[in-house]
Amino acid sequence: MSKPDLSVEIAGIKLKNPVMPASGCFGYGREYSKYYSLSKLGAVVVKATTLKRRLGNPTPRVTEVTAGMLNAIGLANPGVEQVVKEELPWLADQNVPIIVNIAGETVSEYCQVAEIISHSGLAQAVELNVSCPNVKLGGLTFGADPVILADLVRQVKKVCCIPVIVKLSPNVTSITELALAAEQAGADGISLINTLIGMKIDLKTRKPVLANKIGGLSGPAIKPVALRMVYETARIVNIPIIGMGGIYKGEDAVEFIMAGASGVMVGTANFTDPYACPKIIAGIESFMIAQGLKSLEDIRGCAL
């Protein structure tokens, strides 16, 4: 049998396979490039980038829970200027598409970062992390209200000439309402899910383990919620969806594709196994061979 075709197209970007490391779980790619060539990946998604450098939260910032982990990194990053100067040029030489995850506390911050990334010519897309608290609106996250979200997307689209993917937070009553708002405001794609908000208490200190008290839950524990949200969203939007949440194996990725995702992102799994992404790519390929699939289009959304 001829090799199956794993390539996908998302928001106009051609990827050799649907697997991308998730934002915040892969730094700027340098660390994992020691384990395998980044050119094997569909794309690389870099850490959340903000206008100004951020040191992030106090430690402990990470802790383990059953089938998952909690993190409260606090968007630590050197700021967009530094990222464009020091990180992206190196990554751009690795022969892999780059998606830059961006965050901000005001619409204008998002817009400035998106514009700088877009003008740098070094990235193929931006991914808006809308789980950040909107300081102007008293801490409500951008991703919790469809009107606020739509306005953000519209403003960013105005200044950004590369595709804009909106990464939704799962901590909402209706994911579809937000996905629709993003689509209508002009988003080129939707990625989901970001982390669920969780907590762990240390029985010895009798206090929350994380210095920030609450943190984002990721890993296999959240996979059923993620899959359900991809499924619900795929039924109502027409723009491509990138699914993530607890993907550890090729089969997990296939489930997301069957639920309607065009691509998948892999976060926590990188920490458990530095070779997670290439193994997942190989796992998807094995599944396609076993099932006689020529292209991922044969199964995309088949569970809808």
Binding site: L55, V62, G68
Partner: protein
């Protein structure tokens, strides 16, 4: 990398020593570096556990670690047996820089901060014969590797209850020395490191400390394990830029 357990030994009531063999860049190990160990092949524990390399022996192609059972992961580790396989990443991080020749060196350790200092003592003893080693434990029953260390330098033990060596903390024992040092290397609980740094404040000595923090990736990708440097207004990743830092560069 998959390493095989050559032996596992109980050193104290809750401290274990484990020797590992297999394909590993033993000759690239720098004292103070660590390995990151997968706990079970299950979803119960997704994060690896960082454990310092206590001894790396290129000739014997072996690696020794020493760990205290504090939770589920280290408990699982302590229940492994000879012949079992472990999935490890490493060597990770940046270890202790070695001293210039013939300088005076002080090595200070506390509790399970002691093990990585053994490899350091081995390496340092190739550069100088002037090595003082000062190890603090809670009590005599908690002491381990005393003979091994005694072999590598002039050893002083301090125990909190005085059941062996000097009574008190390592900083108490420090006052008894009538020497000065060019290098101080330390690994142990934060309060010990803090006290040491204070003790040598203003003295012309190069101090290096090994720090700990909860880790996720262990390679520098997640920014989970930072320590801060208020002076420099920046953070360092303990797993990548550390775990060993010049004590002037980080807040302890």
């Amino acid at each position: 990398m998959i390493l095989e357990i050559e032996y596992i030994n109980n050193l104290t009531s809750d401290i274990w020593e484990m020797k590992l063999n297999g394909d590993f860049p033993f000759n690239n190990v720098q004292a103070g570096q660590f390995i990151n160990i997968r706990i079970k092949d299950s979803y119960d524990h997704l994060l690896r556990r960082p454990i310092s390399i206590a001894e790396a022996n290129t000739d014997m192609q072996s690696l020794t670690i020493v760990f205290r059972v504090v939770g589920q992961g280290t408990k699982w580790l302590s229940q492994r047996q000879k012949g079992d396989k472990l999935d490890v990443m490493g060597p990770l991080g940046v270890g202790f820089p070695l001293p210039d020749y013939n300088r005076k060196v002080l090595i200070v350790g506390g509790g399970v901060g002691v093990p990585p200092l053994y490899q350091l003592a081995v390496d340092v003893s190739k550069y100088t014969k002037n090595v003082h080693i000062l190890l603090g434990f809670r009590n005599a029953r908690e002491c381990f590797w005393q003979e091994k260390f005694a072999d590598k330098g002039e050893l002083v033990i301090a125990t909190e209850d005085g059941s062996r060596g000097v009574r008190g903390f390592v900083t108490d024992a420090l006052k008894a020395y009538k020497s000065y040092w060019d290098y101080v290397y330390a690994c142990g609980p934060r309060p010990m490191l803090k006290a040491l740094k204070q003790y040598f404040q203003g003295q012309d000595v190069k101090g290096y400390v090994s720090l700990e923090e909860r880790m996720a990736c262990g390679v520098g990708a997640c920014y989970g394990c930072v320590c801060s440097s208020e002076d420099r207004g920046e953070n360092f990743r303990i797993c990548k830029e550390g775990p060993v830092f010049p004590w002037g560069e980080v807040d302890i």
